[in-house]
Symmetry: C2
Subunit: 459 residues, 2 copies
């Protein structure tokens, strides 16, 4: 009996230390993709939602081997994901979506379960997995491609982007301002004034539906770098960038410094520690915003995917040895469409990813795509229309009006530009459903999410 | 001729590298003490104000050996002191004081001069000194004493402070809130709610004249640490702190983490690199605010002075080998009193510092005290009162009214508490004098400042 205890204890030590008992999962996505709601729901499902009815496709729960999850003691010097504040937002009357976070934050959990088979099942009554969930802005990943672009190339890239229909008018005043600038003048006043104008432009883009691809990623949220000269950074007009001048030289210096002091350290110090990655994509809002928006989303995803391209000639391969083995792409807010449209939504996401996926060499990481709703904002049902059952959803609109409606079909393929001329997509934004503490958080397919990103570690 | 050139070149290499040709000067002071105006003026005096008439007591200028100063290329990844923006503030109509900065920033200069004598004078036609001027909040130095206090001791210290007359009423609601708290409850919600309340209290103190001593220094400006659990930190009532409970235990952990991850790194990474230090003290505002304010200023200076106490048993001696060799205490805004009162102002500052100076062992650093105005806000003169010439100053008040008045006498000694009952000090705040670009910035004794902190390096 003492020997058995000892063996069990030793086995436990072994598993927590030497074996693979610690997992770091990154959660990211472009602004508005639903990161905060996703992590809030994920943690609730793992800590209080672990009933087979609620998570039928999460094997460890369905097989009743899951013993429970709890929050672990946080690292005191790392920003903590504000779970409790987010849950309070859902409990407001009326409920509101949790506020989005602006930087890197983390939440740590301990998951306990019975091993299904193997040595561990024999030696231990329970196994434990330490799980770190890490939230960071997808915009930071949009900076990676800058490592492979010169300042001049970045200017060309930026102004090609700013020429797109949904950006052109917004960018026109900044283009006119740059045209009037003397490139021999690289004074502090000139640099600061133009940077402030570029920041305003980025803020306008940020509020423009479908303008996903905003670089550099840290200009609007500089943190302790505020005031560092390298953050005086904006794309000159290509003709200006191509001509050597005090202004273009100085901006090229700042660009190089930004790559060295911001982009590389993020990948080397933070990103390199992740084991798995969830990337949320709000396809429905892109459809709402039209053809240019969908095209830009595809382009942004292509750039983001470079962070998961581990080929020997990849940018990351030159920086460090990556360790991300699984990447889940999740089309978020699926509950804003009717359930029979979810399949099409997944196919659409796959098509958005297809081109970049083909181009990349995923030597280490496996990928999956699915449609989910981390925190349901609608109930689905049917209404009788001319004697036929028509699928519908009901929820509460942003202006507090109760809605029951059919939001329309989700295209399973990228619609042609002409489609957007004939048809306007209108997937309405909804408020979260009312929620009380200790209730389950209603979701769509969070069990599939959990099974994909955690299932193999809880066997 | 070629040999001479070579010798000169070698001499120059020698001086810039091996010799003592690089100086880092820290400029600090509590909020409102005039750091931004001081650095703005200092840089202007060194770059465009180098005429003997303007800086008569700055030897290198008076001896016409100063060849000029210019801004050096900044480090691109370090926040840069916003000199140009500050100068623009002075050029507004009406002129406004430059906005205060919230964190660490730096400005680098190259100063050229002819050496007065010695090897350098023979070998070189000109010598160069690289000067870094570093701005940081004096509040950060108020954190040093926490390294020698336990969490419980800090709570006792804080609530003794909050019992002072000018703080008591403001702190009463937070004290009442803490009294009603269940110390068994150390949930995230509880910690966050109480921290938010303490932040509000700190903000109120921050706006209270004479409430100088606010700890911890980073709670209101967390930078990238925002959301880190260790910043959930506030002083429990001493009776609560002295009793072990989940709440007191958790706060003690956060306190330790704050000391480890905020205070120590500041001293080891930033403060340890300084060669000299200017500390600005606004004595006149303290006098305006009354006896409790002057007492607290004295107490705050005592704590700040611990950062310059290098005795073997000092806190700093245990952290690193300090290199600050000169500390200048400057009573700022001297131009808000009439010139014949400046001597008394210097004596008052010396008395404010006397007690702590006695207690400390300044083994390495020499100290000096003087009264200055970095950017003059008044002109001084005389008015005839009953046939007698009475000293006065004239300037523009904060509400745009033109003023010519005698602001009153500055006490050369710390006034007794009773004095404040009989006499109210009223040194009015003034706007800066109108200033045009390329004009000299009018000042009081910036030449003495320059001579003390730089004179020996420009011989």
């Amino acid at each position: 009996m003492d020997l058995l205890n000892k063996l069990q204890h030793q086995g436990h030590e072994l598993t927590s230390r030497a074996l693979d008992r610690h997992l770091r999962i990154g959660v990211t996505g472009l602004s508005g993709s639903g990161k905060t709601a996703f992590i809030t729901s994920l943690v609730q499902q793992l800590t209080v939602g672990d009933q087979p009815d609620n998570l039928p496709f999460f094997d460890v729960v369905r097989q009743q081997r899951y013993l429970g999850g709890r929050l672990a003691a946080p690292l005191l010097d790392v920003p903590r994901f504000p779970l409790e504040a987010n849950l309070r937002a859902l409990q407001q009357t009326p409920p509101i979506w949790p506020p989005s976070t602006q930087g890197w934050s983390q939440l740590s959990l301990k998951l306990r379960y019975k091993a299904a088979s193997g040595l561990r099942a024999h030696l231990q009554s329970r196994s434990e997995l330490a799980l770190d969930i890490i939230d960071y802005p997808g915009e930071w990943l949009l900076d990676l491609p800058l490592l492979d672009l010169s300042y001049t190339q970045w200017c060309e890239f930026s102004w090609q982007l700013f020429a797109k229909t949904h950006r052109k008018d917004i960018a026109a005043p900044f283009a006119a301002l740059l045209s009037s600038v003397d490139p021999q003048n690289a004074t502090e006043l000139q640099l600061q004034t133009l940077t402030e104008q570029y920041k305003q432009l980025l803020q306008q883009f940020h509020q423009t539906p479908g303008a996903y691809l905003n670089q550099p990623g840290r200009l609007l949220v500089p943190g302790t770098l505020a005031g560092a000269p390298m953050l005086q950074l904006f794309p000159l007009l290509p003709v200006q960038a191509n001509a050597a001048s005090p202004l273009s030289n100085k901006l090229a210096q700042h660009y190089d410094s930004y790559r060295k002091h911001v982009i590389k350290p993020f990948y080397q110090q933070h990103f390199s520690g992740l084991d798995r990655q969830v990337i949320l994509v709000d396809c429905l809002s892109a459809l709402n915003a039209g053809h240019a928006a969908v095209s830009e989303l595809q382009q942004a995803l292509q750039l983001i995917l470079q962070s998961f391209n581990y080929g020997p000639s990849s940018i990351l391969g030159r920086l460090f040895k990556p360790s991300i083995s699984k990447v889940l792409f999740a089309a978020s807010k699926a509950d804003h469409a009717t359930p029979e449209q979810h399949k099409a939504l997944t196919l659409l996401l796959q098509q958005l990813l297809q081109q970049p996926l083909k181009q990349s060499q995923y030597q280490a990481a496996t990928t999956e795509a699915m449609s989910i709703a981390a925190i349901r904002a609608s109930k689905s049902g049917f209404v009788q229309v001319d004697g036929l059952a028509q699928p519908c959803i009901s929820g509460v609109g942003i202006n507090a009006q109760a809605l029951t409606y059919f939001p329309g079909e989700v295209p399973a393929k990228l619609p042609a530009a002409s489609t957007f001329n004939q048809h306007k997509f209108g997937f309405l934004p909804l408020r979260p459903l009312p929620w009380q503490e200790n209730q389950l958080i209603p979701h769509v397919r969070m069990d599939h999410v959990l099974q994909y990103i955690l299932g193999d570690k809880l066997r």
